[in-house]
Amino acid sequence: MKKFLNSFKQIVGSQNMITDPFDLKPLNQDWQRFYQGKSELAVTPTSTKMVSEVLQFCNQNNIKVVPQGGNTSFVGGATPVQDELILSLKKMNNILEFDTTTSIVTAESGVILQSLNDYLQAYRYQMPWDLGARGSCQLGGNIATNAGGLNVVRNGPLRNYVMGLEVVLPNGKVLNLMNKNRKDNTGTDLKQLFIGSEGTLGIITQANVLCSPIPEQRQVFFLELNDFDEVIYLLRSAKQFEQLGAFELMEGRILKRCLPFNGQLKAPFEFKEDKYYVLIEICGQQIELEYYFERLLKHTEQIVFNQNESELQTMWRWRESVPENLHKMGHVLTYDLSIPPDKFEWFAEQVYYGRKGPYNAFYGHLGDGNIHYNIIFDSVEEMHKEQQRVEEKIITLTKNLYGSISAEHGVGQLKRHYMQVQKGKDTFKYMQTLKELFDPNNILNPEKLL
C-alpha cells in the first residue's frame, strides 16, 4: 500500500487519509471483535466524484477495497480480511432534501440512521426501518445489507422503501439510478441488485428513501405465556391487528439470565425459565385499549402494558438488551435464521433433544419468522468442539424448511461457507456471474458473501 500513498493523496487529499495504526485499529475490527483486518490505509472521501476516482484507481492497480459504513456488521462484512483499502463513507453524511408531498428523503450514504430520524421528526416522519444499531449504522450500510430490524412485521422489507440509488461501480463508473417515484416499470430494476449485495457489486453513495409517518400513538404490551403453542396461537391473533407495530419473542430462559446484567431496569415479570415472553407493540391513530384488552385476555391474564413513555422504553430495553447480554453469559454460537414461526421450538429440539446440553435459547422477530438461536458455552474449547456438528445440523434443518441461514444479518465473512448449500449450485453460479460482470477484477469486498 505504501507505494500508492502519494497517488491517494492526489485523489482524496491527505486530510481524507488515515494511516496511523492507532486510528486504523477500530476500523480493522468488527464491533464484536471476532475479525481482525490488517489494513494500512483508510480513505474518507467527501463526494461521489472522489469515490469514483478512488475506485477507478484501485481497479486499474488491482487494489482490493472494503467499503465501510458504521461498522456494525454481525458477520464481519465491513472489515478487511487482509490489507484491503478501507473506503469509509462516514464523511458523506449530508441529508440533501425531504419532499413533503412524496415523503421521500434524499441523503448521502454516510448519514447515520438516528440522524435521519432526528431530521425527519420535524416533518412527523421516520425511516421505515429500525434496528438496535441506529446510533451508529449508516444509510449505505443498511441498504447494502437490506437491513431487517424491528419494523419488518409492520412495514415489510427495506427493499420496498428504496426508490433510487446512486452507485459507484468497481471500475469507477457512477450508475445513476436515482429514481424518485413510487412506480417505475421500465425493465429490470437494477437497483435491487445492489440492495443486499453487501458491497460486493458497487458502493452506494446516495439514496432516495420512502419514509413512514410517525405513529400518533404507541402502546406496548408484555405478555407471559406457558408454552410455545400459546405463543403461536397469540401470533395468529395478533396478525389480524391492523395496528400491529411489532411482535417480538423472548424465551424465559434468556430473559431470566439477563436479569443480573440489567441492574435496576424494571422487569415486566419475574421471568421464569419455562415461560415464553412476547412484546407486542400497537401503533396508530386513536388506539382503543379496550379492543386489545379483550383480544389479548383470551390468550393469557399475564399481560402488563405501559402507562407512560418511560415504561415503553423500559419494555423495549428488555428486548433490545438481549444480544449484548448474551455475550456476557459465556461463549456464544449465534444464528440468525428464517424458518416458519411455528417451527422455532421444534427446531431447537432437533439441535438439542429436550433442550438439554449446553444452554440454548432463542428470541427474535417471531412476527416475520426470524429466529435468533443461541447456544451458550462456558468455555471456548467446548464451543469449538460442538460447532461443526451443530452448524451442519442447523444448515440441514433450515434448508429442509425452505428457510434462510441468514435472515437479516447478511453473509459477510461469517456465513460464506454456507452459501453453496443454501443457494444450490445453479443459483450460486448465477450470483458469481453477476459478480464477475460488475467486478471482473474482484477488487470490491473480496472474500465476502460468495
Partner: protein, 250 residues
C-alpha cells in the same frame, strides 16, 4: 388503618413539551401520574401487602381525564378513588395551599391514619403540599422518604437530606412525602386495569371542598435558552478574552 394517597396528573416526562407564552401547550399531550405520586401509590400497596394497612384511597384534583390516573392507581392496588373535579389548569391554577386545604377536608371527613404523596410534582416542582397539609392538620410529617416502616401505630421514615440520610419516628396519624429511591412502581396489568373499573370512584366538585385562590400568579413562561456549542480555545489569553467579552463574567 386507612391511607389517603394524593396523586397529580402531569405531562409525561418522556415527551418533549412545547412552551407557549401562557404556559405549556397541553393540547393533545400525553399525560400520566406524577412519578413521585406513583411511588406513593406503590408504597401504599406494598404496606397493604404486608398487612400493615387495610384500605388505600387514591385522590386527584382535576378535569374529567384525571379519572385515568385514578384508574391507574386502582390498577396498581388502591381500593377506592376520589375525583375532585375542576376545569382549572392543574399545572397552574391548582396550587399547594389550596390543595392542602382540600385534602385536609377529606382527611377530616374520612378519618385517615396516614397521608402519602409524592414529594413534588414534575410540572411546578413546588414541594409544598405535603408540608402544608401536615401544618393544617397539626400532624407530624416526614418528607423525601426513601424508606418507610410502620409498626404498632408508629411510623419510622428514612429521609433523604443534603447531608445524607436522616431517620425520624412519629406516632400516626401523619403525612409522608415520597422520594425517588423509596421503591420502583410495578407495571399495571391488563386484568387489574379492568378490575379497577368496578372499584368505587367518588366524584366531588371542587367547590364543595374548597376554593382556588390563585394567590401565586405566573408572570412569564419561556423555554430554557438553547445550549450553544462550546469551543476549544488555544491558550489562557483567548480564554480570558472570551470570558470578558462573550460570557461577560468580568
Amino acid at each position: 388503618m386507612k391511607v389517603l394517597v394524593a396523586v397529580k396528573r402531569v405531562v409525561d416526562s418522556g415527551i418533549k413539551v412545547r412552551v407557549k407564552p401562557e404556559g405549556i401547550d397541553l393540547q393533545g399531550v400525553k399525560m400520566t401520574i406524577n412519578p413521585f405520586c406513583e411511588i406513593a401509590v406503590e408504597e401504599a400497596v406494598r404496606l397493604k401487602e404486608k398487612k400493615l394497612i387495610a384500605e388505600i384511597v387514591a385522590v386527584t384534583i382535576g378535569p374529567k381525564q384525571g379519572a385515568e390516573s385514578l384508574r391507574h392507581a386502582l390498577a396498581l392496588g388502591a381500593d377506592k378513588a376520589i375525583h375532585v373535579t375542576t376545569e382549572a389548569r392543574i399545572d397552574q391554577a391548582v396550587q399547594p395551599l389550596d390543595v392542602a386545604n382540600i385534602l385536609a377536608k377529606l382527611v377530616e371527613r374520612d378519618n385517615y391514619n396516614l397521608v402519602l404523596m409524592g414529594k413534588q410534582s414534575i410540572d411546578d416542582d413546588f414541594n409544598q403540599t405535603g408540608q402544608m397539609l401536615a401544618g393544617l392538620l397539626d400532624w407530624p410529617q416526614a418528607t423525601f422518604a426513601s424508606n418507610i416502616q410502620i409498626s404498632d401505630g408508629i411510623a419510622q421514615v428514612v429521609r433523604e437530606i443534603d447531608g445524607g440520610l436522616q431517620t425520624v419516628k412519629f406516632k400516626l396519624p401523619g403525612v409522608i412525602t415520597c422520594d425517588l429511591r423509596l421503591n420502583q412502581p410495578r407495571f399495571a396489568s391488563v386484568p387489574n386495569i379492568m378490575k379497577a373499573k368496578s372499584k368505587p370512584l367518588e366524584t366531588i366538585p371542587l367547590e364543595k371542598l374548597g376554593k382556588l385562590h390563585n394567590s401565586i400568579q405566573i408572570t412569564k413562561n419561556e423555554a430554557p435558552a438553547i445550549r450553544k456549542g462550546g469551543a476549544i480555545v488555544e491558550n489562557v489569553d483567548v480564554l480570558l478574552q472570551k470570558l470578558r467579552n462573550e460570557a461577560k463574567l468580568f
